[in-house]
């Protein structure tokens, strides 16, 4: 009874927003108050929802928001961020941040840049680990940042894949101390490679950009600009593979040798595919010991001096033996 009561309460602000006489143009004074009332009531309902249903209640909130016209949607999210800034209670702040982080689609507000900058600033200032994690979670889900970029990267549509590098780079460059910045910094390179392999009109220049992105990521990671270095070995490995696309095997070997001397088998490299491809047979999807990956790939290239990205089936077969 309690659950149902509070969950249904979530629907009240929604109906009051869409069915009420005040669903006026965004510019009117009364319409500005509406999203605030909606979000206030929604957040109150979310906080009152029991733990079993909290996540479901957040999803329901976003489903309701998704039904609104785009302008209203943005104003509601803006109101939510405004409430996050104004909240004095920790639990309220955490709940709003968690709600922003769990939005199904990247959230956006009329003042997105200022809002994400404020969230990042609050994230840097707080010493509360939970608050930090939740603010970071909210930040990475903002439009044009990490999760948005990853969603683009994971699609098979060139138009969207091509948008991924800029979003990931924005996350890595603007918010380097976010836990998602290192991931974003690394995935700029693979996103550019994928864009190239999906036949973007910019052609081979994308691989040069990818090389620069990988090298920049490696340099920044080694300079401890990020909070972690989980993809460093992968950075060396995938930077090396770019040489196979451009036909520069010597460059590939050079990067593999650097990786070989730098990493041990305690370091792991996650390999989904060697080169993006729609062929499910080319999916590896595994964490492998870094030293063995470098050594195996070098052995393969020594045996196949003219190898290219077209030979990925054979190279993948060699790498599969590491398991």
């Amino acid at each position: 009874m309690r659950k149902a009561g509070w969950i249904s309460l979530l629907a009240l602000p929604f109906f009051s927003l869409i069915a009420g006489p005040d669903i006026a143009p965004a510019q009117s004074g009364s319409a500005i108050a509406l999203p605030d009332g909606f979000t206030n009531l929604s957040v109150t309902a979310l906080l009152a929802t029991g733990p079993d249903d909290r996540r479901g209640a957040r999803a329901m909130f976003w489903e309701q928001v998704a039904l609104l016209p785009p302008n209203a949607r943005m104003r509601v999210t803006g109101s939510l961020v405004k409430m996050l800034k104004a909240a004095s209670e920790q639990r309220q702040k955490i709940e709003i941040a968690a709600t922003l982080g769990s939005a199904g689609a990247p959230w956006t507000t009329p003042t997105l840049n200022a809002d994400v900058t404020w969230i990042y600033s609050a994230y840097r200032q707080t010493n509360n680990e939970n608050m930090k994690a939740m603010l970071d979670y909210a930040l990475q889900n903002a439009a044009g940042l990490y999760r948005d970029g990853i969603h683009d990267y994971n699609t098979d549509k060139l138009a969207r894949v091509a948008q991924a590098p800029a979003k990931l780079a924005a996350m890595a460059d603007k918010f380097p101390k976010s836990r998602y910045a290192e991931n974003a910094g690394f995935y700029v390179g693979p996103a550019l490679v994928k864009t190239y392999l999906f036949k973007d009109s910019r052609g081979i220049a994308l691989i040069n950009d990818a090389n620069a992105a990988f090298e920049r990521y490696i340099k920044r990671t080694e300079n401890d600009e990020f909070t972690k270095r989980e993809y460093l070995a992968a950075g060396y490995f995938f930077r090396a593979l770019d040489g196979l696309i451009t036909g520069n095997v010597a460059e590939t070997k050079d990067w593999l040798n650097r990786g070989l001397s730098k990493f041990t088998d305690d370091d792991k490299i996650y390999i989904y595919q060697l080169f993006p491809s729609p062929d499910p047979a080319l999916v590896l999807d595994d964490f492998l010991p870094a030293h063995k990956v470098f050594a195996t790939t070098l052995r393969f290239l020594n045996a196949h001096p003219n190898a290219s990205d077209k030979d990925q089936t054979q190279l993948l077969a060699a790498i599969r033996t590491i398991r």
């Binding site: 970071d136 999760r147 836990r179 995935y187 989980e230 996650y270």
Partner: protein, 253 residues
Amino acid sequence: MKAGKLSNKHTKAPTHSSAGKKIAERSPLIPKTLSYTQLEFIAILALIGIFILLFVWFTLQNDQRIFQYYIFAVMTTLVFSGVLKAVGAYRRAGIALGGSIVIFAAVLYITKDTFEKDAARQDTIAKLQSTIARQKTDNKELTDDLASANRKVANLLNQNIKIFTYRPNGKPMQEAQVKYLGEHGELIAHSESNAGWHIIPYKDLADDTAIWVTVDPASVPAERRTGDIGIDRFIYKIKPLELKLYLRDKGWR
């Protein structure tokens, strides 16, 4: 003192003394008439004193009531006999002996019921006291047990919860993130991701808390799904409070 005066008067009566000699001459064992000499008076007093002491001693010994009773009867007989002798009711030894037996029997007869009732009452009291003492001991043991159980329950409830997140092959699942609802809202358990454990402090838990495991989107490769994960199996330990989760997701090994 009155008895003393009487005894002095009797000891001075020459007729009694000469009559006693005659009886003694007839029967050396039991004299026919009794004289009440000072020595006899002192002897009776001494006997009464001894019996009083015995009576007091047996009274102090809670478990010697039968002897206490007999001493009381003997002492009463002695007192009565002494009084009867003093007032001159006993003039001959046979009467004194018979009278004493009658008095002793009468005392026994009259007080027997009272004694038995008293004895029964004393037994009941003793049994009740024993029962009370035993129950006190039992109660103390129960209280101690209860306090110990309370402490154990409190210790159990006050434990921090340690959750291990492993892959089905037993290796730590570093991407797993344990969240829970605390007094201050949704919280992330402190973790050592390389070891695969996560700690939820008892003091942080809300009354109606919930704990859930998700994939940390910052720790999972972009190509992998970051949705919910399934439990392959779990091990639940009470002491120390540990939950070992063996988790899997599509594509995870």
